[in-house]
Amino acid sequence: MINIQKYVQAESLEEAYQLNQKRSARILGGMLWLKMSDNTVGTAVDLCRLGLDTIEETEEAFSIGAMTSLRQMELHQGLNRYTRGMAARSLGDIVGVQFRNMATVGGSVWGRFGFSDVLTFLLSLDTWVELYKGGLMPLETFVFLKRDNDLLVRIHIRKKPGVFVYQAMRNQRTDFPVLTCALSCVQGEYRAVIGARPGKAMVLGDEEGLLAEGISQESAQAFAAYAANRTPTGTNLRGSAAYRTHLAEVLLRRNLLELGGMQKWN
């Protein structure tokens, strides 16, 4: 069980950053994962007083504070309007309402967890992370960086016109997903994201132009097979690598057919 020696509600980002430079310090997110660890934390730094628990929407973008709960995102009308309900669909099976009232988007993104529905969802959008010292960078870049002592301040989603769909396979509702699959078409560019492989989510584009003529039964099948073949999968308690590769092809084909208006799964 975690052992916390000192707890501080930071008064500023600078204070939080300075406190976090010590090896034994931890920034608190929702604490749902952290509390199950077996560590001693010298100083637990809480960002809860810094006003980072809101979603701001402009004509151009959403700006989501790191302490915003997954439940706030799930229920946010603007985010669901823009993503055609993908926010609610991708987050709604994460454990339960109480859990999602506590889990923060900052904790989920900073953790870069392989099983993350949140990461799969956000990677299918034009999402950027704002770090206190590191500044702005695409989420796709951030995902593969090593954890350091910087602070994740906000998530920015640029509202480029697009269409979005999401599906996940779970052995049981509220369990970790066996595989997650998001698909977007933003300004004509397709972006497939496959997560819970069980490695962290990865993005695949249509480099071969398989969807250049639009979505049909044949092109959907061809792209789904192409993407599934290029997606490394692994085995764990929830499913084998072969099963995940098969699922990736099926979910991606379904997402493509839904995006093309040919079939409705959600």
């Binding site: 975690i2 916390i4 608190l28 749902l32 199950m36 709604g92 454990v95 109480q98 859990f99 009232n101």
Partner: protein, 158 residues
């Protein structure tokens, strides 16, 4: 460190250890409806309201609740009274261990959505695990309660 919060409408101030979890703080104040179950933030047994929102007290530092309003089932007896009888009528409480968390989250659901569909009930209560009942009794109990409320013309504030 010193913690001040409002528990079931009453201000409480106490010296606590920084790592104290809210569930342990609440039980030390006689709120025995708040149960420890899975220890993995999954079962919903420890559900309490933080400023009206259902949260898992097993995963929340007591220190983080400073300045906030916490409600447990002990403080919501009146609001729960109408509803729990319908659960008991279905025999759905069985061993009773999951019941307080289940009742708390149902109250949260009905505050947010006074007339939920069966699917909305299932979705909202997905984070409350019961190892006795298979959930059908609870669902029937909630449905019967909602139907009775409709028959009474919203007399309970639906």
């Amino acid at each position: 460190m010193e913690l001040t919060l409002t528990l079931n409408g009453k201000p409480v101030t106490e010296q606590i250890e920084p790592g104290l979890l809210l569930i342990d703080f609440l039980r030390s104040h006689g709120c025995y409806s708040v149960k420890r179950g899975c220890e993995t933030s999954n079962c919903g047994l420890c559900t309490v309201f933080l400023d009206g929102r259902p949260v898992l007290s097993c995963s929340l530092l007591a220190a983080r609740a400073a300045g906030h309003h916490i409600q447990t089932l002990e403080g919501l007896q009146e609001e729960a009274a109408d509803f729990v009888g319908f659960i008991a009528d279905q025999g759905a409480d069985q061993c009773g261990f999951c019941n307080p968390g289940f009742v708390m989250n149902t109250l949260a659901l009905l505050r947010e959505n006074p007339d939920p569909s069966d699917d909305e009930i299932r979705a909202y209560l997905a984070g409350n695990l019961c190892r006795c009942s298979g959930y059908e009794g609870q669902l029937r109990g909630i449905r019967n309660y909602l139907n009775s409320r409709k028959k009474e013309g919203g007399a309970h504030g639906a």
